[in-house]
């Protein structure tokens, strides 16, 4: 009988500390499935960032380094340049990746570092209690924008996946979500490509995943899951650059 469900080898058997309905845990599982399928558990080094996912090392069974807030891509650059044979990924929130760490993220992409960056976009600073993030939607209430994000004061959310797609150093860039089974499967496929980008030495692999933060959105898990659909109006889902597919299909152009 075919096996339909099994526990990923590279997922540690530890209970997640995440809030009910949080999407971090779904992405963790997908990450482990991809690590298993690519058979890279023994040569991966993950970079944990500062945010709700800072305990990444309690869940993902690969070597993991903790980087200061925002500096995951710089630390990943150091690991990868020192040992190019390793598969190196970062796991960051929107605040870590796109606010305090934007410069490191952007320049790593510009240099075409052979690393994979996973960005969990939940539009808030989850860990510190739901403050404004660069990716907070216009009008969205956060603890530091109690009247909602006013674009006159804070501008508009950056579309990182689209911006990165325009950089020569980036081999894969896309935005996905995990709030429906279909989207979970699509995200997994894309995540694999974001790894294949570095494994095949093509360049920087970037994947942004729209995620629910029920606690800070002040919604129950089911409503928060549905609310992710609203995010897709500002943050369209899709693959914006895919050199991996071209490479795998033998297109050498």
């Amino acid at each position: 009988m075919p096996e339909f469900f099994k526990f990923p080898k590279s997922l540690k058997k530890t209970n997640f500390h995440y809030c009910p309905g949080c999407h971090h845990s779904i992405v963790h599982r997908l990450l482990c499935e991809v690590i298993d399928e690519l058979n890279i558990q023994e040569k991966s080094v993950g970079i944990a960032s500062i945010g709700c996912s800072c305990f990444l090392y309690f869940y993902i069974d690969v070597d993991i380094l903790e980087a200061p807030h925002g500096r995951a891509c710089a630390a990943a650059t150091g690991v990868k340049r020192a040992r190019p044979e390793l598969v190196v990924f970062t796991y960051q929130g929107d605040g870590d990746f796109a606010a305090i760490g934007f410069n490191e993220s952007f320049h790593s992409a510009l240099r075409g570092e052979k690393i994979t960056a996973i960005m969990i976009n939940n539009t808030v600073y989850g860990m510190t209690g739901g403050q404004l993030s660069p990716t907070t939607l216009p009008g969205q209430k956060t603890t530091t924008t109690p009247e909602g994000r006013d674009p006159n004061l804070y501008g508009y959310p950056p579309k990182i996946a689209e911006i990165f797609a325009g950089l020569e150093g980036v081999a894969f860039s896309g935005r996905f979500a995990v709030n429906t089974p279909k989207r979970v499967l699509e995200t997994k496929k894309a995540l694999k490509k974001a790894f294949l980008a570095q494994i095949n030495n093509l360049g920087f692999g970037y994947i942004e995943i729209l995620s629910a933060c029920p606690i800070n959105w002040k919604l129950d898990p089911v409503s928060a899951n549905k609310a992710v659909d609203k995010l897709t109006k500002v943050f369209p889902l899709g693959t914006f650059k895919d050199e991996v597919e071209k490479f795998l299909s033998g297109d050498k152009s």
């Binding site: 080094v45 690969v62 200061p68």
Partner: protein, 360 residues
């Protein structure tokens, strides 16, 4: 390597020392007066199978060092004062993660953008305040090109021995002055890193390196572990001491001004004055016991005179070491007023007479 004598700037000596120690990765961001280090590394490292990368900022550079060191590879960065300030958060992480990073600060005048003349204004930052939390760099202060070469190489050994960041504290004079340098094979010990480095979990369980400890017991343990390590470092205290038991004044100086102070002391001695010279080379750990020995062995009551290229920083550590058992007189020279040996001689002579011109 065959021994050969060359003419080199202090900062070139630093880069050559790092290469001699087998440094494999250099990450940095340009800033005067230390640009010859990255420039030399950019030429030399790729030839030796190493990595040179100019980062987008000092923030990125030091975090690249953090990443590279976590894989057990010898890595370094260098900068000058403002750039070092920008790295301080990562220094704290590197110390907490117990990574063997080597950092070079070729100090320039501050605060703020300051100037590019020599200064020792970052003494406090290097030995006491290089980031948040209870941690220390091991700090080595060479005073000529030869020491710059040898101590930079040694820094990689100390960093691995203690799994702690090591800082080479130099300045614009030492860095930019050209002088003879004997390049020779140095015996730099390597330590086993297989039990902690992140190299992929092959044939062993996965591991992680972190600094977050939400359990207060664990965090306390971490702090005490670091404190114990700093105590242990005292075995590797380095200093130069030219002191006779009959001396009445001991001049304590480090780095470039120690060159001038040593000249002044030796001149005074030749003229028959009871003046000794003491030079801390490890600024952290500070040579406290050797200074206390000097006091114990002294036949006269002692005065310690502390000339520095700042408004008085190391003098505080001298006072702590002396612990009230002798008087301590600061001789502050803020950036750009570097004294000639003759001027220092005058000041030291004043201290020899009972009243000092500058009060402690």
């Amino acid at each position: 390597m065959k021994t050969k004598k060359i003419l080199a700037k202090g900062i070139e000596a630093i880069a050559l020392g790092a290469l001699e120690a087998g440094c494999k990765c250099y990450f940095g961001y340009p800033i005067t007066p230390q640009n010859e280090i990255p420039e030399l590394m950019a030429r030399e490292l790729p030839k030796r199978g190493g990595v040179f990368l100019q980062a987008e900022s000092e923030l990125a550079a030091i975090n690249m060092v953090l990443g590279a060191c976590a894989t057990g590879i010898r890595a370094m960065t260098s900068s000058s004062s403002p750039g070092i300030s920008l790295m301080c958060e990562a220094f704290s992480y590197i110390a907490a993660l117990e990574l063997p990073a080597v950092v070079v600060n070729v100090m320039r005048g501050g605060p703020g953008l300051g100037g590019i003349e020599a200064s020792q204004g970052d003494y406090f930052q290097a030995v006491k305040g290089s980031g948040h939390g209870d941690f220390h760099f091991m700090v080595l202060a060479p005073y000529n090109a030869q020491e710059a070469y040898e101590f930079t190489a040694k820094a990689f050994e100390f960093a691995e021995k203690y799994r702690n960041p090591v800082m080479i504290l130099s300045d614009a004079i030492l860095g930019q002055m050209k002088e003879p340098l004997v390049l020779k094979k140095l015996r730099i010990k390597k330590y086993n890193k297989n039990n902690w480095a992140l190299t992929g979990a092959k044939n062993r369980p996965s591991r992680f390196i972190r600094s977050l400890f939400l359990s207060s017991q664990e965090l306390k343990g971490k702090n005490l572990k670091l404190a114990k390590k700093y105590k242990k470092m005292e075995k590797d205290i380095i200093y130069e001491s030219l002191v006779n038991d009959e001396d009445k004044v001991i001049v304590v100086a480090f780095g470039s001004i120690a060159r001038i102070a040593k000249d002044a002391c030796l001149n005074l001695r030749k003229k028959g004055y009871p003046v000794g010279f003491f030079r801390p080379i490890t600024l952290f750990p500070f040579p406290v016991k050797p200074i206390q020995e000097l006091i114990k062995n002294a036949k006269n009551s002692l005065k310690f005179v502390v000339p520095e290229l700042n408004c008085g920083q190391m003098v505080e550590d001298v006072k702590l070491a002396v612990n009230g058992k002798a008087s301590v007189i600061p001789l502050p020279y803020p950036p750009s007023v570097i004294p000639f040996p003759e001027e220092l001689e005058k000041e030291i002579k004043k201290c020899l007479s009972s009243l000092s011109s500058r009060k402690a």
